[in-house]
């Protein structure tokens, strides 16, 4: 579904991504892990079009998405969440989610101004869809919550809201940037279940995560980045016993160095 081949990106003289290859198959959960500064978030920014790669190719469902505007990439079916939460704080919860529907709705200015029947139907459809997406997270984002400003939500609920907003874009591929960051063990266990459910719903997921409990439980495949290079790939067990991975995380043993 997503094919990243030979991707390179440098900021000035710093090579952030170096000859990166990642493949994600349909309904697969692929986790990208690595130490801080390994280039994980940069990879997501490259996929979503926020950064332009120096060389290499990113293909989504066979089509190259290089050089496309971020909103056009979203329209194709790639949506993401942010490591540093970026919900629209001063908009209501339901509006936050409804915003995600922009790319697959098409009421024009004219039908909006005159409130044509087509517009009315579409608005109803959007609202219904938004409520449906929010119901995915149980009652905590429902009912009286709909019309409350997003800033009144707790940290964990904002993460959920971001996921709902990403689902609202009708995406096939979800890029989740550290969904369990800042959550307590109970909440991250719940997020883990949720990601599994998302896959069952038909989503494909590329996950960046530091919490190894989350990664270990749900990943079909794990790719490990270090200094912008993929140093290992495989199942969670394979990767965590890999010599180079341990080295990247913990450093080399002293006697080996000598």
């Amino acid at each position: 579904m997503l094919h990243i081949t030979n991707l390179n990106k440098a900021f000035g003289g710093l090579q952030v991504i170096h000859n990166l290859d990642i493949q994600v198959g349909r309904q697969e959960i692929v986790s990208v892990i690595g130490p801080n500064g390994a280039g994980k978030s940069t990879t997501l920014n490259l996929i979503t079009g926020i950064y332009k790669p120096d060389s290499g190719d990113i293909r989504f469902e066979g089509e190259s998405i290089l050089g496309m505007q971020p909103h056009d990439i979203t329209k194709l079916g790639i949506a993401r969440t942010f490591q540093t939460l970026r919900v629209f704080l001063n908009m209501s919860v339901i509006e936050n989610v409804m915003t995600g529907a922009y790319c697959h709705t098409n009421s024009g200015l004219f039908s909006t101004i005159f409130r044509m029947p087509g517009w009315r139907q579409e608005e109803e459809k959007i609202r219904q869809m938004a409520e449906e997406k929010l119901s995915f997270f149980g009652s905590r984002l429902q009912g009286y919550r709909y019309d409350q400003p997003a800033y009144s939500l707790s940290y964990a609920n904002r993460r959920r809201l971001e996921i709902a907003r990403a689902m609202m874009t009708d995406a096939k591929l979800l890029l989740l940037d550290e969904p369990a960051a800042g959550m307590n063990p109970h909440e991250s266990a719940e997020i883990t279940d949720l990601i599994g459910q998302l896959r069952d719903e038909g989503y494909t997921i590329l996950l960046i995560e530091h919490d190894m409990n989350v990664v270990g439980k749900i990943s079909d495949r794990v790719a490990v980045l270090d200094y912008g290079q993929k140093i290992a790939e495989g199942s969670y067990e394979e990767v965590t016993t890999n010599e180079r991975v341990i080295e990247a995380y913990l450093g080399r043993r002293h006697e080996e160095l000598g």
Partner: protein
């Protein structure tokens, strides 16, 4: 890693005793609880909110429709001490014009969050376009001898479209810039426009042997035709009042409809977080350009009809930065992002200075705003009552003691305009040379107020200083300000705005914006 389930929080048996702080539902209702204030103000707000929304709109609308008739009655003219209904109606038209302009600016600034300082130029361009289309200004011998004379039903929509197009173009070259940079570029655009309007009087145009006067410079273009729609010509101020009212309603409904749709949501998303909006599939650049174009179109509508109403286009000060600043003040005062707020802001800004021409009304406003300001600053209301009561009693004591020591210290008689003035002057100790003393006391009043603000923490001192400030402000008003209305008018408008903005920094009808939590 320790298992958190080893250490469960003991279940609370008594649901009532449990603190609700930290509970999602409780936290989320904080705003409601804050809004449900105690006291008279809270009760008034509750009373107003008990009226169904549609009734409120209908009531206000009926009042506005009936206003020209009400303002024409003798009772109304006498009450406000104005001899002429035409003046009131002109002020009304000014209000409606500015309300439309403020809504347009609100679309750009409030919804899409673009700091556009060239906004007023769109109004100006529309004015000049209307002048070209509907006066004898454009004359080419043999071809257009008596001006273009395009019918209003064609020219007004055409102007709106052209100016919206110009707005789109200006936007597309500058929209990449964010915040302050966009402001500077658009400010430059506005300046270019007004300089052109002032100086493009001798322009060589191919095909003409003499330089062509495009704008008639600072004098502007006169004798514009009135608007004619379906054979009906708008001539009198009252007719224009209703035309502007109709346009305001149309603009309000259009913007309101857009705002409550996916386009409105996209605008707000762009304002909140442009990157997130873009990545969530909103074409941010297109949305910003749309806001720019719609704002320009609304400015053009107001500008063209305003030119027809005035019968001329004169660049200064109508299309100057000064007008722009006024418009911004209206939008900010009403609350950026609030449609009704823009109208309220325009109302306060156009009506208030006119109302204050009447010094008796200005006095009522001065004391009214002062008391409301104090009431807002002193909570709970007992503190307010304490300070007011203390000042009142202190003043009365002075009134008893001072004349007993030396009667000459209390025999000044400034002009008393209204009953209110007479009452306050009866309470104050006013010496013979009150004008000199008034100057000093005005300075003292400001000193006391500032001192009170600095010493807020020390409650008793704060209350005493406030009382002194109240007394000296009342003295200053009665002896100096009320005697010189022309300067006072501006002062009171300024002070009112300061008080309003301090009391509600988010604007009268705006919502508090939360940036990062």
């Amino acid at each position: 890693m320790t298992d958190p389930t080893n250490n469960p929080i003991p279940p609370d048996d008594d649901e009532e005793k449990k603190s609700k702080i930290g509970t999602d539902e409780w936290v989320s209702q904080v705003d409601d609880r804050v809004r449900g204030r105690s006291g008279v103000l809270g009760r008034l707000v509750a009373l107003w909110e008990a009226i169904p929304e549609s009734w409120r709109y209908t009531g206000v609308l009926l009042l506005v429709i009936a206003f020209p008739v009400i303002s024409g009655t003798d009772a109304f003219l006498e009450l406000f001490d104005i001899g002429d209904n035409a003046f009131i109606l002109r002020t009304g038209v000014r209000f409606l014009t500015f309300a439309i302009l403020a809504i347009g600016l609100n679309v750009v600034v409030g919804y899409a969050g673009l700091l556009d300082l060239g906004y007023i130029a769109f109004m100006g361009i529309a004015g000049y376009l209307y002048a070209y289309m509907s006066s004898e200004f454009v004359q080419i011998e043999g071809l257009i001898p008596y001006g273009l004379a395009i019918p209003s039903i064609v020219s007004i929509p055409l102007i709106v479209l052209i100016v919206a197009g110009i707005g789109y173009l200006i936007g597309s070259v500058s929209i990449r810039l964010a915040g302050d940079y966009l402001a500077i570029v658009t400010l430059g655009f506005g300046q270019v426009f007004i300089q052109l309007a002032l100086t493009a009087t001798r322009v060589s145009v191919p095909g003409f042997d003499r330089p062509v006067d495009l704008t008639r410079g600072p004098n502007g273009i006169n004798n514009l035709d009135d608007i004619t729609l379906f054979g009906y010509t708008f001539e009198s101020t009252m007719q224009y009042y209703y035309l502007f009212l109709l346009l305001l309603i149309i603009v309000f409904v259009v913007v309101n409809n857009i705002n409550r749709s996916r386009i409105g949501r996209a605008w707000r998303a762009v304002r909140e977080d442009e990157l997130a909006a873009e990545v969530m599939g909103t074409p941010t650049r297109r949305m910003k350009l749309l806001a720019f174009a719609i704002g320009a179109g609304i400015a053009a509508l107001a500008g063209a009809v305003d030119a027809a109403f005035q019968g001329n286009v004169v660049p200064n000060p109508r299309y100057s930065v000064l007008t722009l600043i006024n418009l911004y003040a209206m939008v900010v005062l009403g609350g950026t992002g609030s449609l009704i707020g823009s109208i309220v802001g325009a109302f306060i800004f156009t009506i208030l200075p006119e109302l204050l021409r009447n010094i008796a009304a200005a006095g009522v406003l001065f004391y009214g705003v002062g008391i409301i300001g104090l009431y807002a600053a002193l909570r709970p209301w007992r503190r307010f009552a304490l300070v007011m009561g203390g000042t009142l009693v202190g003043g009365l004591l002075l009134k008893l003691i001072v004349p007993a020591i030396n009667p000459a210290w209390d025999n000044g008689f400034p002009e008393a305009g209204s009953v209110l003035n007479q009452i306050v002057q009866g309470w104050l100790v006013i010496p013979e040379n009150f004008q000199l003393v008034g100057n000093i006391v005005t300075g003292l009043a400001i000193f006391f107020l500032l001192a009170a603000m600095f010493l807020r923490q020390r409650q008793h001192l704060f209350h005493v200083l406030l009382g002194l400030a109240i007394y000296s402000f009342a003295f200053s008003w009665e002896t100096r300000l009320a005697v010189e209305p022309s300067a006072t008018r501006i002062l009171v408008v300024g002070a009112t705005l300061v008080v309003l903005m301090v009391a509600r920094p988010q604007g009268l009808l705006g919502k508090t914006e939360v940036k990062i939590i």
